[in-house]
C-alpha cells in the first residue's frame, strides 16, 4: 500500500463520517434556506408593508399642502376641512385612518412643525414619503422667493453616472465597477475566512478526538503521523467544498423554484436581471424616448460593462490558490494545536496567537476594499498569515499580477514550512497523554528526532 493509497483511505473515512452526520445534512438544508431567505426578506418585508392600504388624514393649518402629497398604490391621503387637531386626535380611534398628519402654520420656518399621529408605529417609508413631499413643496416656494423658476430648476437638475475605466499598459480600456469589485472581494474574503475557522477547528477537534479516545497509537502504527494529518486536513477540506457546492446549488434551486411558487410577487422583485436584460434588448433597437428606460439602460450597460471588466479567470485561479493555501496553512496549525492538548478546553492559550492574524485580516479587509492600493493592503496581502483573506479582497480590483504571484509564492513556501513544523509538533503531541503542554515544551518537540 503506497503512501498515496493510505492517505486516500484516511480521506475517505474523514469525509464519509462527516458528510453522513446529521449536523452536515441540517447545515446543508438550513444554509440555503437562510441564504435564500436573506435574499428575499428585504423585498418580502417591503411588499408586506405595501399591501395594506393606508389612508392618511392631513390637517394642514398652513394651507400650503392641499393635494401636494403624491399618492402611491398603498398610501392615500385625505385632506381634512380644518386644522382642529385636538378634535381629530380625540376621534382618531373611531376613524379608519392609518395616521394623522398635522402641519402647523409655522412649517416654513420651523423644522419641528409637522406631527404624525397614529395608533401604530408608522413605518419609516411612510414617514419618508410625507417628509419628502413637504420638503419638496417648501423648497419650491423658497426657490420662487429667490426668483428661480421651476422649469429652470428642472433643466438644471443633472444626473451623473460615473463610468470608471481602467487603463492598462497596452492601452486596453476596461470598465470598472467599484461596487461589484467590493462585493466579489468581500464574498471571496469572507468565504476563505469562514472556511479556515470552521474547517480548521473541525480538523483540531478530529485530532483531539483521536487523542482522547486513544485510537491514535493504533493508527500511527500503520500510517505515518504526517499521512494521518494530511488525510484529515484534505478530508475535512473536501467536506467544506461539498458543503459549499450544496449550498450554492440548493440556494439557486430554492431561489428559482420554491420562491416563485410561494411568493410570486417577491420573486418578481428580487429576480429582475432577466427582465432588465430583456427590456434592454428590446429598447436598445427602438427609439429611447422615455426617461425611465434611458436610466435603466445606463444602469444595465454599466453593469454589463463592469462585468466584462472583471477578470473572472484571474479571480477564480487566485481564489483556488489562496483558498487552499490559506486553509492548509491554518489547518496544519490547528492540527498541531489539537495534538498538544487533551481537551478542547485546553486549546485557548494556543488558539489566540494563531487566530489573531486572521482576525486582523478580516478587520482590515474593510479598509483594504476601500483602498486596495494602500501600503496596509499591500503588506497584509504579502504576509502569508493574512494574505488569503486580504489578497482575495484586492484581486478583483485588478492589482498587478506580479503582486498576486509573489504573495502566492510566499504563501506556498510558508505553508510547506509550517506544515513541516506542525507535523513535528503533531507526531510528538499525539502521544503525550495527560500532560499540560506549554509553548516552551512545544518548541522543544520541534527538535526531537522522529
Amino acid at each position: 500500500m503506497t503512501s498515496f493509497n493510505k492517505i486516500a483511505t484516511i480521506i475517505a473515512r474523514e469525509y464519509n463520517t462527516r458528510v453522513r452526520k446529521k449536523s452536515f445534512l441540517i447545515m446543508s438544508i438550513v444554509g440555503p434556506i437562510l441564504f435564500a431567505g436573506l435574499m428575499v426578506t428585504p423585498a418580502w418585508m417591503a411588499q408586506m408593508e405595501d399591501t395594506e392600504e393606508k389612508l392618511i388624514a392631513v390637517a394642514d393649518s398652513s394651507h400650503l399642502f392641499l393635494g401636494e402629497f403624491p399618492e402611491s398604490k398603498y398610501i392615500k391621503f385625505e385632506y381634512l376641512p380644518d386644522a382642529d387637531i385636538e378634535k381629530y386626535k380625540s376621534n382618531f380611534y373611531n376613524s379608519n385612518y392609518y395616521a394623522l398628519v398635522y402641519i402647523s402654520h409655522v412649517v416654513a420656518s420651523s423644522p419641528n412643525a409637522v406631527h404624525l399621529y397614529s395608533d401604530k408605529s408608522p413605518s419609516l417609508g411612510v414617514q419618508m414619503h410625507i417628509s419628502n413631499a413637504i420638503e419638496k413643496r417648501l423648497e419650491r416656494d423658497k426657490l420662487k422667493t429667490y426668483g428661480i423658476d421651476e422649469n429652470v430648476l428642472q433643466a438644471v437638475k443633472t444626473n451623473i453616472s460615473i463610468r470608471s475605466v481602467k487603463l492598462s499598459k497596452s492601452g486596453e480600456e476596461k470598465e470598472t465597477n467599484f461596487n461589484l469589485f467590493m462585493a466579489i472581494g468581500y464574498l471571496a474574503g469572507f468565504l476563505i475566512y469562514f472556511t479556515i475557522f470552521f474547517s480548521g477547528s473541525q480538523v483540531m477537534r478530529g485530532v483531539i478526538e483521536e487523542k482522547t479516545n486513544r485510537i491514535i497509537e493504533v493508527i500511527i502504527s500503520s500510517v505515518k503521523p504526517f499521512e494521518l494529518m494530511m488525510g484529515k486536513i484534505l478530508g475535512v477540506g473536501l467536506v467544506a467544498l461539498t458543503q459549499f457546492a450544496l449550498w450554492i446549488g440548493l440556494t439557486i434551486g430554492i431561489y428559482y423554484t420554491v420562491i416563485p411558487v410561494l411568493m410570486p410577487d417577491v420573486a418578481k422583485m428580487t429576480q429582475p436581471q432577466q427582465v432588465q436584460v430583456d427590456t434592454f434588448m428590446e429598447t436598445g433597437s427602438s427609439l429611447q424616448t422615455q426617461a425611465p428606460t434611458e436610466e435603466m439602460n445606463t444602469e444595465i450597460s454599466d453593469m454589463l460593462g463592469a462585468l466584462s471588466g472583471v477578470n473572472f479567470g484571474a479571480i477564480i485561479i487566485s481564489f483556488i490558490i489562496f483558498f487552499f493555501g490559506g486553509y492548509f496553512l491554518y489547518a496544519a496549525m490547528f492540527a498541531a494545536i489539537g495534538s498538544a492538548v487533551d481537551s478542547e478546553a485546553d486549546t485557548q492559550q494556543f488558539m489566540l496567537p494563531v487566530t489573531l492574524p486572521m482576525i486582523i485580516a478580516i478587520i482590515a479587509m474593510v479598509n483594504v476594499i476601500q483602498n486596495p492600493e494602500s501600503p496596509l493592503a499591500f503588506w497584509l496581502s504579502m504576509i502569508p498569515f493574512t494574505s488569503p483573506v486580504v489578497m482575495m479582497a484586492r484581486v478583483p480590483f485588478g492589482i498587478p499580477y506580479s503582486q498576486v504571484i509573489l504573495s502566492a509564492v510566499i504563501l506556498i513556501i510558508t505553508f510547506v514550512l509550517v506544515t513541516w513544523m506542525a507535523a513535528k509538533i503533531y507526531r510528538t503531541g499525539i502521544l503525550m497523554y495527560g500532560k499540560k503542554s506549554s509553548w516552551k515544551e512545544i518548541w522543544k518537540w520541534l527538535t526531537y528526532n522522529n
Binding site: I10, R13, I215
Partner: protein, 305 residues
C-alpha cells in the same frame, strides 16, 4: 534465528533519557517478554520497533535486514493506550483499520466475519462502538491487531483492563498464535503472567536493559542453594545430622509429616545432604527452590537502583 534485533538503541527526550544502549534479540516463533517497572522505557522501545518514533542512535533489524516502512504490515501492535472511534460502527471501523494495515476491503471483510464469528460477536457489526462495553471493545481491538496475520505481534500491557474471562481468552489466543509460528513481544510490569507464557525475557530498568535470556536459564541463574524437603521421622535427629552443612530457614510439622526449608552451605551438594538425611529420616520429597520471576525482578531492580 531472530526475527527482530535492536542494537544499541538510544532515545533522549528533552527532560530524560528514555533508552540507553538497549539491545534485544527476539527469537522467531517465541513469546518474548519485555519487562520492567513503569516508566522504564518499554513503551518507547516498542514505539521505536513500530516506527512510531525514531531512535537517536542504534539500529533495528527485521529478519536480518534494516527495518523499513513496509515492515509495518508484518507487525501487529496492540498499544497500552488503545481505543476506537466511538461514533463509528464496529464493522466499518474494523475494515478501516484493516485497510490501513494493507488488506483489501474484500479481504478485510472476509477475515473479520470469520473472527467475529469465532468470538460470537457478529451481532455487533452494525453497532456503534460507544454502545459496547469495554470488554467488548477490547475483543475488537484484539481482532484488529492480529487480522492481517503479522509475523510479529506486539502487545503492550495486554491484560490491563481486561476482565479475567477475556484475559484468559486473550492468553489462549496468544498461545495459539505462537503455535502457528507468530512471534510475540509481550510488554508488562506484571510478572506473574510472564512465567506462564514467556519463553524469553528482557528486563529494562531506568532506560537500561539489565537482564535478558530464556526464562528457564534466568531462573537457574538466579537460584540460590535453597531447597524444600518433606520427610517422616525425628526433627531433632535430622537437625543434628545436617548441622554445619545447611542452615534451616523454616520447619513445620503436620501429622508426622515434616516440612523443612533450608539453604545449603557453600561447597555442599544436594546428594551429600540427602545421604546424611537418609540415615536418620524417611525422605518423601525434595526440590530445589527456583526463584519466581517476581523475586528475580524485585532483586535485580533493587540491585540496579
Amino acid at each position: 534465528m531472530s526475527i527482530l534485533q535492536a542494537i544499541d538503541i538510544d532515545k533522549q527526550f528533552s527532560d530524560h533519557q528514555a533508552l540507553t544502549k538497549v539491545s534485544v534479540d527476539v527469537p522467531e516463533a517465541k513469546i518474548f517478554g519485555l519487562l520492567g517497572p513503569n516508566g522504564a522505557g518499554k513503551t518507547t522501545l516498542i514505539r521505536i520497533i513500530n516506527q512510531i518514533t525514531a531512535p537517536d542512535n542504534g539500529q533495528l533489524l527485521f529478519k536480518g535486514k534494516p527495518l523499513k516502512g513496509e515492515d509495518v504490515y508484518k507487525i501487529g501492535y496492540l498499544p497500552e493506550e488503545r481505543g476506537l472511534y466511538k461514533k463509528m460502527k464496529v464493522g466499518e471501523q474494523a475494515i478501516y483499520l484493516a485497510q490501513l494495515k494493507g488488506l483489501s476491503r474484500t479481504d478485510a471483510i472476509k477475515k473479520l466475519k470469520w473472527w467475529f464469528g469465532k468470538f460470537e460477536i457478529l451481532a455487533w457489526w452494525d453497532k456503534k462502538v460507544e454502545e459496547l462495553s469495554k470488554g467488548m471493545q477490547q475483543k475488537i481491538q484484539f481482532i484488529v491487531t492480529i487480522l492481517h496475520e503479522p509475523e510479529l505481534l506486539i502487545f503492550d500491557e495486554p491484560f490491563s483492563g481486561f476482565d479475567p474471562i477475556n484475559a484468559n481468552l486473550l492468553k489462549q489466543e496468544i498461545l495459539t498464535l505462537k503455535e502457528k509460528g507468530s512471534t510475540i513481544i509481550f510488554s508488562t510490569h506484571n510478572m506473574s503472567s510472564v512465567e506462564e507464557i514467556c519463553d524469553h525475557i528482557a528486563l529494562i530498568n531506568k532506560s537500561k536493559k539489565i537482564l535478558d535470556g530464556p526464562v528457564e536459564a534466568i531462573r537457574q541463574q538466579f537460584k540460590t542453594a535453597q531447597f524444600e524437603c518433606t520427610y517422616q521421622g525425628s526433627y531433632t535427629e535430622a537437625a543434628q545430622i545436617i548441622h554445619g552443612k545447611a542452615e534451616i530457614i523454616e520447619h513445620k510439622e503436620n501429622h508426622q509429616v515434616h516440612y523443612l526449608k533450608a539453604e545449603l552451605n557453600p561447597g555442599i551438594e544436594n546428594n551429600e545432604f540427602l545421604t546424611l538425611m537418609m540415615q536418620k529420616v524417611k525422605i518423601t520429597s525434595f526440590s530445589e527452590v527456583i526463584p519466581s520471576m517476581d523475586d528475580i525482578f524485585i532483586r535485580v531492580v533493587k540491585n540496579a537502583n
